[in-house]
């Protein structure tokens, strides 16, 4: 994925490791979702829309920030599709398009907080660097 080109379904599939074709659209993810009412698009729609290549709508939607990453959808999916990872991939795609505002190793010391799990820092590195 380049920073200038549009994001494709293949990009999201590669970033997330999710195979949307496995989904049988049962809706159990959306039945489990605690943020359902806040979200414009729901977990099962993320999977369906990526499959159909409707990426721009997802990237423009606030739904990506209303997902709590609670992983209920991922845990309960009978087909191991892992919608939460796909939503995360859309978020990452949006952030990467916003330019070079990603974290560097030098930013870490000032952000360290004893209450903050180290894993969060590491995953932030992964998320915000290209």
């Amino acid at each position: 994925m380049s920073l200038t080109n549009t994001v494709t379904a293949e990009d999201l599939i590669r970033i997330s490791g999710v195979d949307p074709s496995k989904c049988m659209q049962c809706g159990k993810c959306s039945g489990a979702c605690p943020s359902y009412d806040e979200m414009e698009y729901h977990p099962h729609q993320f999977v369906a829309m990526v499959r159909k290549g409707q990426i721009e709508k997802l990237m423009a939607s606030d739904a990506i920030y209303q997902c709590l990453s609670c992983f209920a959808c991922l845990e309960r999916c009978p087909r191991n599709v892992e919608p939460a990872k796909l939503i995360e991939a859309v978020r990452v795609a949006v952030i990467r398009q916003q330019g070079m505002n990603h974290m560097t190793a030098n930013d870490i010391p000032e952000k360290l907080d004893e209450k903050l799990p180290q894993q969060a820092i590491v995953s932030a590195m992964r998320k915000y660097s290209k």
Partner: protein, 663 residues
């Protein structure tokens, strides 16, 4: 030197589109021993076979190579053709240039090259072929049916009606199986017990049927037509010949803690019990784990009260040895354990039940006498949620559940919903479904009746979570049609749990050397054309043991399996496969390694007098029983001295093929 004819088949365009058949026929002409070579559009057709017959006579062929489809498809056809022209059938070799060549290649040049190599290998083998004569083995005219549910009962009745003896071995104390537990049956809503129990009685009264209940297959030896089974008849601590089934012992028994399996553990029973009123045999059984006498040595109330003197605390397991010509596997299914699905709170609330538990609750002979009440407090429920596909249609990499559709759940859920609405119109019924799968005669009409006439609320979507609240269950799910998440306060939740093969199936499959799939369903010999036969000769499949199916399909398959068994048992003898192992006496050292690897027990040892230049005296030598040997070849590769060889597939023949391929 053999005089070999080569016949290259086009199989329409199946072979000819990817393999230059003329080039194959031409190349074969130059192989040693080949005196005739041709190609034809359909070798298996009557014209094609006539061509082979004429060539055998005209060119005095001693061996034939057919370059065509897999030998599984038409080897038997071409062997018959050879026989009708006076050739030994084992002088025919097939070069598989369809499945192993044209179907897997796209490039004509590559396909043709491989086809020529395969033809060459077959020609090299025919040079070493020798005429073989098949022997015969007798057929024991009795069948063994493993499992006494509707599948086993129907198969047994059909075989017995044809005049053959049948033994039904059932692991439970009574026959009847899962169908006996059901309340009503779809799509006619007739009472399950009312249609099943007469069949149970028919089986019990049939002079040709012998029911061996509370018993399991311990071991099996032999082969098609000649099986010997050891059946373990478990101690029920009751003399079956004396017990009258009066039930006094079951009333007097002071132990009341054993869970009632027949009611899916929804209530308890005595340590001595009769599973249900119409049980066959109508004989009590003692659960020794619960019995006070077995635990403390005291009590014995049942013994004191039994006027027939049938209680036998000292009864032991008994081993019966019986011979059979055919075996039918009808081991059925069980629902999967719903407690793996924490999100549905099955382990947290007694008001979350499986469909089979619900079946017992709705049944007039069940724990609530057919009154629909909440298991937790016995109150009348006002709102019920049914969840379909619980554990069905999951991917292999999901943490739980089965990859297949359990097939029966859509219909029984529609039935449950309808029955509830019929008996209790005040109860609201919701069904969460992914797809309503209702193929079958009058099935979709049945489901539509639930929606249209009984006003059952079908919601396309799945439940994500069931949480236990103060006096109700909070059900949260998605409604995909309305694009909303819905919340229902339900009194009961019913899970349409997936079904899986009975846990005894895997061990049984190993014992019978019958193949199974990764889900432990028995595999059929051909998924379309031989659906009731196992690939293991003499083993037949009936009911859910082979794959999920409903009652009408089970009964149809049971009858089909019976027809196959009857076809086998009415033969007086079976032709054996002559491609069996044999030991070269000069080379055999009697080391016993072949005996140990033989899966069929076909090898024994004899002391034989040997007079050869190297050795003179008595020698221990392996002897193969040709009727038992299945020609698997395990002994030939195990034998350290190279004494074992397989007729028709000898080491020299196989090496000749390899040499021809590598040439």
């Amino acid at each position: 030197m053999q005089r070999i004819g080569v016949f290259v088949c086009w199989c329409g365009s199946n072979i000819a589109a990817t393999v230059d058949v003329k080039a194959v026929a031409e190349a074969a002409k130059h192989e040693p021993g080949v005196v005739f070579s041709t190609d034809y559009q359909y070798m298996c057709s009557e014209n094609g076979q006539a061509m082979i017959r004429e060539a055998i006579k005209e060119h005095r062929l001693t061996g034939v190579v057919i370059c065509s489809c897999s030998p599984r498809m038409h080897e038997a056809t071409f062997r018959k053709t050879a026989v009708s022209a006076g050739l030994n059938p084992y002088m025919v070799e097939i070069a598989n240039i369809r499945e192993q060549c044209s179907w897997i290649h796209k490039d004509m040049a590559e396909g043709t090259e491989k086809a020529i190599i395969l033809a060459r290998a077959a020609i090299a083998k025919v040079h070493l072929n020798a005429p073989l004569v098949a022997g015969t083995s007798p057929v024991t005219k009795r069948a063994l049916v493993i499992g006494g549910g509707i599948a086993g009962i129907q198969t047994a009745l059909d075989i017995a009606d044809a005049g053959f003896e049948v033994d039904i071995v059932e692991k439970a104390p009574t026959i009847g199986g899962r169908m006996a537990q059901l309340d009503k049956t779809f799509p006619t809503l007739d009472c399950s017990a009312c249609i099943l129990t007469p069949k149970m009685v028919d089986a019990a009264q049939h002079e040709k049927i012998n029911i061996i209940s509370y018993a399991e297959l311990d071991s099996l030896s032999g082969f098609v037509g000649n099986f010997t089974a050891k059946i373990r008849k478990k101690a029920r601590f009751i003399d079956e010949t004396k017990c009258t089934g009066c039930g006094i012992c079951t009333e007097k028994c002071p132990s009341r803690k054993g869970l009632n399996d027949f009611n899916m553990g929804l209530n308890t029973r005595g340590a001595v019990y009769i599973p249900f009123a119409q049980a066959i045999p109508n004989v009590a059984v003692i659960d020794s784990a619960q019995c006070i006498h077995f635990r403390t040595g005291k009590c014995g109330l049942c013994e004191k009260n039994c006027s027939a003197g049938a209680i036998k605390f000292d009864q032991k397991d008994e081993i019966l040895e019986r011979e059979y010509g055919a075996i039918v596997v009808a081991t059925g299914f069980k629902p999967i354990d719903a407690s793996a699905f924490n999100e549905y709170a099955y382990s947290d609330s007694p008001d979350v039940v499986t469909s089979l538990e619900f079946e017992r609750i709705m049944n007039a002979a069940g724990p609530t006498k057919g009154k629909l009440v909440r298991p937790s407090d016995g109150k009348h429920p006002h709102e019920i949620v049914f969840i379909q596909c619980v554990g069905s249609r999951c991917t292999e990499d999901a943490t739980k559940g089965k990859p297949y559709c359990s097939k029966i759940c859509c219909m029984y859920t529609a039935k449950h919903a309808m029955l509830v609405r019929e008996k209790y119109p005040d109860v609201k019924v919701h069904v969460f479904y992914i797809d309503a799968r209702t193929p079958g005669k009058n099935f979709d009409e049945f489901y539509r009746r639930a929606v249209e006439q009984y006003d059952v609320d079908y919601i396309k979507g799945m439940v994500g979570k069931v949480s236990v609240e103060q006096d109700h269950l909070h059900v949260q799910g998605s409604d995909l049609i309305n694009n909303e998440q819905i919340h229902i306060n339900a009194d009961m939740v019913v899970l349409a749990t997936a079904i899986e093969p009975d846990p005894t199936a895997r061990a049984l499959g190993t014992m019978l050397t019958a193949s199974m799939d990764t889900n432990d369903f028995f595999t059929e010999a051909h998924p379309k054309l031989r659906p009731v036969e196992s690939p293991t000769a003499g083993v037949f499949l009936s009911g859910v043991a082979q794959g999920p199916k409903d009652i009408p399909e089970t009964v149809a398959q049971a009858g089909a399996a019976a027809a196959k068994v009857i076809g086998l048992l009415c033969k007086n003898e079976l032709t054996c496969n002559p491609c069996v192992a044999h030991a070269n006496e000069a080379l055999c050292n009697g080391c016993s390694q072949c005996e140990r690897v033989c899966p069929y027990g076909a090898i024994t040892y004899e002391d034989k007098e040997v007079r050869s230049p190297e050795f003179r005296g008595i020698k221990r030598i392996a002897v193969v029983n040709g009727a038992i040997c299945q020609g698997c070849g395990a002994c030939t590769v195990t034998c350290p001295s190279g004494a074992m060889d397989l007729k028709g597939f000898s080491n020299s023949q196989i090496m000749a093929e390899v040499d021809a391929i590598c040439r």
